[in-house]
Subunit: 351 residues, 2 copies
Amino acid sequence: MSELKNDRFLKALMRQPVDRTPVWMMRQAGRYLPEYRAVRTQAGDFMSLCKNTELACEVTLQPLERYAMDAAILFSDILTIPDAMGLGLYFETGEGPKFRKPVRTEADIENLQVINTANDLGYVTDAVTMIRRELNGRVPLIGFSGSPWTLATYMIEGQSSRDFARAKTMLYTQPELMHQLLEKLALSVIDYLNAQIRAGAQAVQIFDTWGGALSHSAYAEFSLAYMKKIVDGLITHHDGRDVPVILFTKGGGLWLEAMADTGCHALGLDWTMDIAAAKSRVGHQVALQGNMDPAVLRADPATIEAQVESIMRGYGQGSGHIFNLGHGITPDIDPDHVKVFVDAVHRFSEN
Amino acid sequence: MSELKNDRFLKALMRQPVDRTPVWMMRQAGRYLPEYRAVRTQAGDFMSLCKNTELACEVTLQPLERYAMDAAILFSDILTIPDAMGLGLYFETGEGPKFRKPVRTEADIENLQVINTANDLGYVTDAVTMIRRELNGRVPLIGFSGSPWTLATYMIEGQSSRDFARAKTMLYTQPELMHQLLEKLALSVIDYLNAQIRAGAQAVQIFDTWGGALSHSAYAEFSLAYMKKIVDGLITHHDGRDVPVILFTKGGGLWLEAMADTGCHALGLDWTMDIAAAKSRVGHQVALQGNMDPAVLRADPATIEAQVESIMRGYGQGSGHIFNLGHGITPDIDPDHVKVFVDAVHRFSEN
């Protein structure tokens, strides 16, 4: 593989000094870009795009052509694992992801097999390999997976949910069954992320989109414990470099200390968290990634710049900050505003 | 008015000793009760029920007939103020509240008038008066309002929202206009809650349902500042008693210290917060209300009892705890499970 020309993202994740704050955006390869929408139309539906190695590679690289991003993130979906388990992932226009065969009974869960990435999700590792080749060392590539709890909510509900009625009922009335499901998912995620790392992913992020819907104690037992298991099971060193792990629990601001104690390298922060407070709580232990409200990108350039500066000032001196949004960019954002955002991060952080 | 026979709710809000932990449930007069559904059918739509003094009184009292609740809460909606401002509140089956005339432009906001409760919302104070008479001192009556920010989100979006695109765009691009709207709403809420207090509400709760969608700094400036203004403007003493104020920001666990500093008497906690941690952070300043995940009510009786006991043990010794759910009860709950819940609170807290 060619030498990495821009390693400030990887360095910042390890809290090593960098010349300026690295930046990338969750969902940076996405619908706000007209060139993405063109490829998506060409591919057909969303999953066909994920499974088409060349097109997945193409959209992964699109934001790098426009913006001075310091990392690329594999174009894929958080729900590839349950899809590979046979649940039948599909997307209806204007709605979130759905499963044709949700998991509802003990038998459903007992019949689930831990996935084998090489056999079941080769299209993902193929995309990683091709993206690394096409990146040619420009910036590092991030691999990712949904967290076991987040995957479980979609698998049980069959779709996204407002209050997770079925998943929480199982959690409270059949905790052993829920643990059985989460255990299979954790083992699958370990296999999946390690396969991404072997194929070339230089850092990995675990997206715990729905951990914040749990109570304090249920979060520790049903979400965080399985993310820790994953952190413990990941390849820590590959191809001459550490492989940093980022944990992102949306709505997890109350639990930063426990998250940092998993041994991960960085925490993703949503926009509700004051980054200065987060740094004083866990900044001695982990790097911090975030955390501008994606809604700010709807505002005028001066407002975007002021918000970037405020977060930059909040983090203050010292290494260990990766700039990002507090959640994925939304489809309605003007691509020119993203340029304002990325350039502002660079300008305000140059030494 | 007749003498109050059960004042443990009011005493706990003032952090005075009580014989056992008081309990009530957000949305306790609601669709999970068959007798509520019968009255609702009789009334027609939801707003007709709110505006019918006798029926609103009847449904307010229904949960007290079944359960040993320590407080009643006025049956009404958080969006009565914008409705009184002329926005035309309505409810479509299976969907949340909507407004016929959302607020979108500077002119829309300039034309809004601060409400005068006596003229515009007499049906609410009439209901308070009748409920107090019918309660006949059994338990105290809670009045309530939505917070200015929460009202503003519905007024601008025209309905509930996933990411508050319009409201946040206004907040970031026209902050002065947003402040003008929030100022009118805060003055209206003060008038509204004081009218409820004069009519007989013995405590009031401000529901900040969507404060948790804001960034740390936007929450302070656009939601909390206006709740503080309201706390400062409320009648503190009426009919020989203090009138305690409860602030409830869903998703506000990161901001408890700032909320307590408003001078309110109690904080409502959602279920993501560890009540022991909340007590050690702000329990010397305010009472705490909450905070069982409403989803627990879907579980079996033994699980409900175990969760109640765990929260009770989390709060531990000392006065100042009002048991509640972390959010409103959902329509799918078995009414018998609510009895298990209420009885468990009483049993586990008796000295």
